[in-house]
Symmetry: C2
DNA sequence: TCAAAAGTGTTGGCATTACACCCATGA
DNA sequence: TCATGGGTGTAATGCCAACACTTTTGA
């Protein structure tokens, strides 16, 4: 059992997505030490002895954003022996979705923290480039057959805002009338009394009937 | 970093599916020792210091079945602190698909090894019940939008055999004409010259154009 | 000749797409 | 009043599901 080779370190990394400024953004941190010091990476940390993987991911998420009760799902586990030059680290990646403006990126133990558009990612440490690809793919795919967009939206929103989020993530325009029909027919939305007043005609506000993941054909 | 708590053990488990006797079957082993000794579980093992997770899963698969070059994909990682009563074990589960009759279940370090229909699973050790559920769900879902059935079929097969596999896994009958149209139109199959002669009218034999995972709408 | 599986096309319904005009508001 | 985004219905198309009879073989 306990041979001479050191036991692998078990860690989690969290790819946190938000939509802001018309773009998909992720939270990156600067690796504080080791051979990769200064490089950008997704925030992560070692899993505590009494903690589940998801708990560790939520802890890290909370440390970076101050948020709890956020949508979080396991992506996959990266465990190649040489993925971290410093030690054998097996890391389970999670994807988290948060609404724009709810976040104030917190440095904590990191030198710096930044929201970066996913189409402008810098060179990333470890195998985090592959992690980023996998996370974006997963998000795109799951938008089509689940209601997880709710994670990216504030409690109330207009149909146009919802449509815009789909368009940003999928990278293509959607027909307003068609998507409204589908969304309203899905039964997942509740119309509110209130309206959002902006520079132009006010828009009806909606909320999600439940903020829990459901598999439903959305697109 | 290295506190007093022992580092978690990093392991893999493999859920091996095959279709035989008109049923989905999985390979189970009897846990050799520890508090769960005698209970059934999916075969698994500790990840070696120089091994990737997938390599460890392939090694285990080969040790149990003698097979290599098999379809294998990561399912997810199970890491609850109390999932194994004996030690903290973080285990990444894999799903493997093999063709019937290509396997001779090998005991190795286990007391016993058996192919068991997935709808007749005994009580399983650890959190392997959840693992089984997740594996079956994944397989069902992925059949619809990828060509991974090839993993369950021998090199050549008839369209009826292919249809039968879909029916067994999905648990519902499929229309012969409709599925033939889709399969032949998909361009994934090559018709062979040979025919399979059985008790009745001979059937045309086919093979897959490539035995690599491709995302294609199949159902 | 009979039983059992292989093989083959057409049709109707449903879902998806494409598309254009009027409305309400703030500036 | 004008610019901007909000709100709405219909028609054409393509996709999918339902459906029955003939063929070939071994027994």
């Amino acid at each position: 059992m306990s041979g001479s080779a050191p036991a692998p370190i078990v860690a989690v990394d969290v790819v946190i997505f938000t939509i802001d400024g018309g773009r998909m953004q992720t939270l990156l941190v600067q690796v504080p030490d080791g051979p990769c010091a200064g490089a950008w990476a997704f925030p992560g940390g070692i899993v505590g002895p009494e903690e589940s993987l998801e708990e560790a991911a939520r802890r890290e998420l909370r440390a970076r954003t101050g948020l709890r009760g956020v949508y979080l799902e396991q992506l996959r586990t990266f465990g190649d022996p040489d993925r971290d030059p410093q030690a054998r680290v097996v890391s389970t990646a999670y994807v988290a979705l948060i609404a724009a403006k709810t976040n104030g990126a917190r440095r904590g133990r990191y030198a710096d923290v930044a929201w970066v558009p996913v189409d402008r990612l810098p060179r990333l440490a470890y195998d985090h480039k592959a992690m980023a690809r996998a996370a974006v793919e997963r998000l795109r795919a799951k938008l089509a057959y689940t209601n997880i967009v709710y994670g990216l939206l504030p409690p109330t929103f207009t149909l146009s805002e919802l449509q815009r989020i789909y368009e940003i993530i999928l990278g293509r325009p959607l027909d307003r009338r068609n998507i409204r029909k589908k969304l309203l027919a899905s039964g997942l939305l509740c119309a509110l009394e209130r309206q959002r007043r902006g520079a132009h005609r006010p828009a009806a506000l909606y909320r999600f009937a439940h903020r829990r993941p459901v598999v439903v054909r959305m697109l």
